[in-house]
Amino acid sequence: MRFFINGDQVEVPASVQTVGSLLEHFDIDNKVVIVEHNGNILSKDTQTEQKLEDGDRLELVHFVGGG
């Protein structure tokens, strides 16, 4: 699968079919992440179930605490 994530083209294994598995793939599934999928902001309750297709555009923003 090939996505555009935060502006960059990224190749991921074909097993990555949902936002949830994508977050797991990048090891950020335990963080607070806001996901925009093809221009739509995803609700946190349902974001992990969102199905992904080849060529999808994603913006991933994770919240950090330091300051």
Partner: protein, 339 residues
């Protein structure tokens, strides 16, 4: 002195009128670490009427790489950050009133600090306090600007009560664990970038140019060359307990307050007495020099080494116990030496 703000007044969106507005505003900066010193210096140079800056910690050598108001002598003297910040800020612009507070901000403190405030700048290092700021912002109708950074990564969002989603809408719960730890280190350009985003938004708010606000969540990674803006208006929840129709401000309830806190990435536990106390530092220096070795005493704190631990005792009652992450071990030391 009329020259002082001339370049800012020449900038059209501010102008002389905007400058007059800036000079009537009172900004609360919560935290005087990397983000707090950056924001404070910029806003003091910009000529706000008054800054209240609050921090619970003292200056250490590891701060000097990025916390722009501090000098080596501040670290040597373990000066409280708020005190050291005020000293430097007054040198930068003596026309600005600086209210510096050495304290740990809890619910009572945030209520008191937020009186007559036009804007709250987030320069904290954890989400417990941010959630408190969030609810206070909604309750008192004060805008606040979230900012955070770790490594080469940074993030910021401007929260306007009644307009944007609030942090409770965005996060739903207080994030725990790895998020607050600075174990990944931090580089100063990441700090400066967040400060730039926060202060630009602050200036727009102070000159009341709300239309020009960014309105998007911004995040970046300066090492991986990424920059992201996303529109998150749709996240605003009508039933949010902090900003919705039937709000209860859950983060301002006293039961959510902790009296002990493990300071992230610092191998340190803070213990805060349930009732406010003022410690007699001279008396403590005498009493503790029997078992320990006095490291530093200044008008604000006493630092003493006892075996492999360092106890830093603040005049406002708080104690930092360095050399442990174990709350029960920290408590036993606290009770042994401070009753």
């Amino acid at each position: 002195m009329s020259e002082r703000y001339s370049r800012q007044e020449l900038f059209d969106p501010i102008g002389k009128e905007g400058q007059m507005k800036i000079q009537q505003k009172h900004v609360l900066i919560v935290g005087a670490g990397a983000l707090g010193t950056g924001s404070a210096e910029a806003l003091v140079r910009a000529g706000v009427q008054k800054i209240t800056i609050v921090d619970r910690d003292y200056v250490e050598w590891s701060n000097l790489q990025r916390q722009q108001l501090y000098h080596e002598q501040d670290a040597r003297n373990r000066l409280p950050k708020a005190v050291a910040a005020k000293r430097r800020l007054t040198e930068v612009n003596s026309e600005v009133e600086i209210d510096a507070r050495v304290m740990d901000v809890g619910v009572e403190e945030i209520e008191e600090l937020s009186r007559d405030i036009d804007l709250i700048m987030d320069a904290t290092d954890n989400f417990d306090i941010r959630m408190m700021i969030n609810d206070m912002s909604q309750k008192a109708n004060i805008p606040w600007i979230y900012g955070a950074c770790v490594g080469s990564y940074g993030i910021s969002y401007t929260i306007i009560p009644g307009e944007t989603p609030c942090l409770q809408c965005i996060l739903e719960t207080v994030p725990i664990g790895g998020l607050t730890c600075d174990t990944a280190g931090i580089i100063s350009p990441a700090v400066q970038m967040v400060v730039s985003y926060q202060v630009s938004e602050a200036m727009k708010i102070l000159v009341e140019d709300f239309q020009s606000l960014r309105k998007k969540l911004v995040s970046f990674d300066l090492w991986q060359n990424q920059h992201t803006f996303i529109q998150i208006d749709k996240i605003k929840k009508p039933n949010c307990l902090s900003c919705g129709h039937e709000r209860t401000y859950p983060n301002l309830s006293f039961t959510n307050q902790t009296k002990t806190a493990v300071l992230c990435g610092r191998d340190t536990v803070q213990i805060r007495p349930a009732e406010p106390v003022e410690r007699d530092l001279d008396h403590l220096t005498q009493a503790l020099s029997i078992d320990g070795e006095i490291d530093v005493q200044n008008p604000y704190l006493l630092s003493v080494d006892i075996n492999q631990h360092r106890l830093v005792i603040f005049k406002d009652g708080r104690v930092l116990i360095h050399g442990t992450k174990d709350i029960s071990e920290a408590k036993s030391l606290y009770y042994r030496y401070l009753g």
